[in-house]
Amino acid sequence: MNEQDNPIREAIRGAIAGNEVILFMKGTPEAPACGFSARTVGALQSLEVPFAAVDILPDPRIRQELSELSQWPTIPQLFVHGELVGGCDIVLEMLESGELADVLGVAGGDGAVEAPAVAGGGALQIENRL
């Protein structure tokens, strides 16, 4: 299938190109549907960075096309200036080291930021609803 015939992939590409900071996640920032997405949202919110968010759950093709485009198998996926920064693990590591603030161009890059806790905490809160 060529690119013109693949409107979902083109829409994803357009969203990544059109938003400086964009998070593909399960659920919404207000109601994340997965612990990994929730923690990634928490990391961005802790730096008070505005970001666009796309819920991948409504259509399984979004996840499929996104992962093919990004060569990254899991959700969430954070893109900054068109580049994949990473998923939850990398984003939290970068938050703690101060690199996330650097990449996002905000204050707080002194490595003093603590990773946010998920409300209710604990590994058993983590669910994959795909």
Binding site: F36, R63, S67, Q71, W72, P73, T74, I75, L84, V85, G86, G87, C88, D89, I90, E93, M94, A123, L124, I126, N128, L130
Partner: protein
């Protein structure tokens, strides 16, 4: 269904010289957490390091393995 020991074996077999510590995060056999140390990570970005590990499992990530949380250490 994969278990932590199986995932550890496959990572260590798939990445030359690597050592992996893997735990079943929830006890449910589908959310795992791994710390992987390998000289093969030298010179790679975090994204590339994680891709190397994810690549071992292909379609299983997001399938039978719902989540594989990674910490990679270059050595």
């Amino acid at each position: 269904m994969p278990d932590a020991a199986n995932i550890k074996e496959r990572i260590e077999a798939g990445i030359p010289g690597s050592q992996a510590e893997v735990e079943d995060w929830t006890g449910g056999g589908d959310h795992f957490r791994a710390t992987v140390t390998s000289p093969a990570f030298a010179g790679l970005s975090r994204i590339e390091q994680h891709r190397l590990v994810y690549g071992i499992f292909g379609e299983e990530i997001g399938g039978p393995i719902h989540a594989l949380s990674l910490t990679t250490i270059s050595e």
